[in-house]
């Protein structure tokens, strides 16, 4: 049975149990989203942990039976909030190297291309990056993204469109440079 489903016969899970389920179920993708948004300017683990702690503090206010949207929105907001803090300087870019270690089977060339794309993504404006990752990785609709980012749908369309165009230009420059 999916953790998001409930049946009358099933033992009613406590909020704490549902919270734990949400952590186990969603943290992998949330960490990827946080990594995509904060890039090398903050710790994505801190973003996800802080987001979950914020939710846990007021856990009784939320419906934890289907927490996907809630936790995603909280992580995105926390990531953008961290990026707005002036003290956030670039961290050492070890996550890019870590990506290579995490994927030992990949070809060197492929890893190099991935690195370049990730670097290009890191250089995008925060909102472009957030909209792109929610659209392409989380497969969210423009309306859902607009709600998550507290923006209008045309604004989200523009961010995604411009983000892709800027990425394409950056990568073309990289290919031409080589």
């Amino acid at each position: 049975m999916s953790t998001d489903e409930t049946s009358p016969q099933a033992k009613v899970a406590t909020t704490e149990e549902l919270f734990e389920q949400a952590v186990r179920q969603h943290s992998r993708r949330l960490l990827a989203v946080a990594r995509a948004i904060v890039g090398n300017r903050a710790s994505p683990e801190d973003v996800v942990q802080q987001a979950f702690m914020n939710l846990y503090q007021h856990r009784h206010r939320y419906d934890w039976r289907q927490p996907g949207g809630l936790v995603r929105r909280t992580v995105v907001n926390e990531a953008l909030r961290m990026l707005r803090q002036p003290r956030m300087a670039s961290l050492i870019d070890d996550t890019l190297e870590a990506a290579q270690v995490h994927s030992p089977g990949r070809q060197v060339m492929e890893s190099e291309t991935i690195l370049q794309v990730r670097r290009a993504i890191d250089r995008l404006p925060d909102n472009f990056r957030a909209a792109l990752v929610l659209c392409e990785y989380e497969k969210m609709s423009y309306a859902q993204i607009a709600e998550s980012l507290d923006a209008s749908i045309p604004q989200v369309k523009t961010w995604i469109h411009r983000g892709r165009r800027q990425l394409g230009e950056m990568l073309r420059a990289y290919v031409n440079q080589d």
Partner: protein, 201 residues
């Protein structure tokens, strides 16, 4: 015909699944005849595929994920423990504060009553009528007999306010009351004096 910005936005909406089915049919018809548009769609697909690999590469490995989950759940439990401790502390502090306030009020009240008793001067005088005569008095006696044959003893505090005026049927009862009052006042230790006044006392 070159692909313009509008077409690009159209293709992207199509790839994102944001295009209504009615518009999709129009696009398919154009794709069937416009090679450049088809080429652009293929290019966008390839770029999206590459980005998909990048997004997936951002996912943590199992160890990092387990560590993160453990940290979150540990922190949540810590938060619970802190909340429990602070809740208990709050209860204890509230109870302690109530006790302290109670003691404080009791102490202040005790001082006030004790002061009142200590400051009281009770005297007895032979009065001709109820409430008559200035000053702190405790009066009684035949002269204080009322019309119905009752004896009245007025008890006044040091500032002259009458605090009680019990009535008695006989002189002996009035005398007994004055004696009892004198004993009670002596037991409290705060009475300056009890002065039965008048020949009868």
């Amino acid at each position: 015909m070159a692909v313009n910005d509008n077409d690009l936005a159209l293709l992207q909406a199509y790839l994102d699944g944001e295009m209504p089915i009615s518009e999709c049919e129009g696009l398919w018809r154009r794709l069937a005849v416009e090679e450049e548009l088809t080429a652009e769609l293929d290019r966008l697909r390839a770029e999206a595929g590459m980005r998909q690999v990048v997004w997936t590469s951002l996912e943590p490995n199992d160890d990092a994920l387990t560590q993160l989950q453990d940290n979150i759940l540990r922190e949540a439990r810590r938060q619970d423990a802190r909340a429990r401790v602070s809740g208990s502390l709050r209860t204890i502090m509230t109870a302690a504060a109530c006790i302290m306030i109670g003691i404080g009020l009791g102490w202040m009240g005790h001082d006030r009553w004790a002061g009142l008793w200590r400051g009281a001067t009770v005297t007895a005088t032979h009065q001709a009528s109820l409430g008559g005569g200035p000053g702190p008095t405790l009066g009684g006696g035949p002269g204080a007999m009322l019309g119905g044959g009752k004896f009245v003893v007025t008890v006044s505090d040091s500032s002259g306010r009458v605090v009680a005026a019990p009535q008695f049927n006989t002189f002996d009862e009035a005398r007994q009351f004055i004696d009892d009052l004198a004993k009670a006042q002596a037991n409290r230790g705060g009475i300056h004096e009890v002065v039965p006044a008048g020949d009868q006392f």
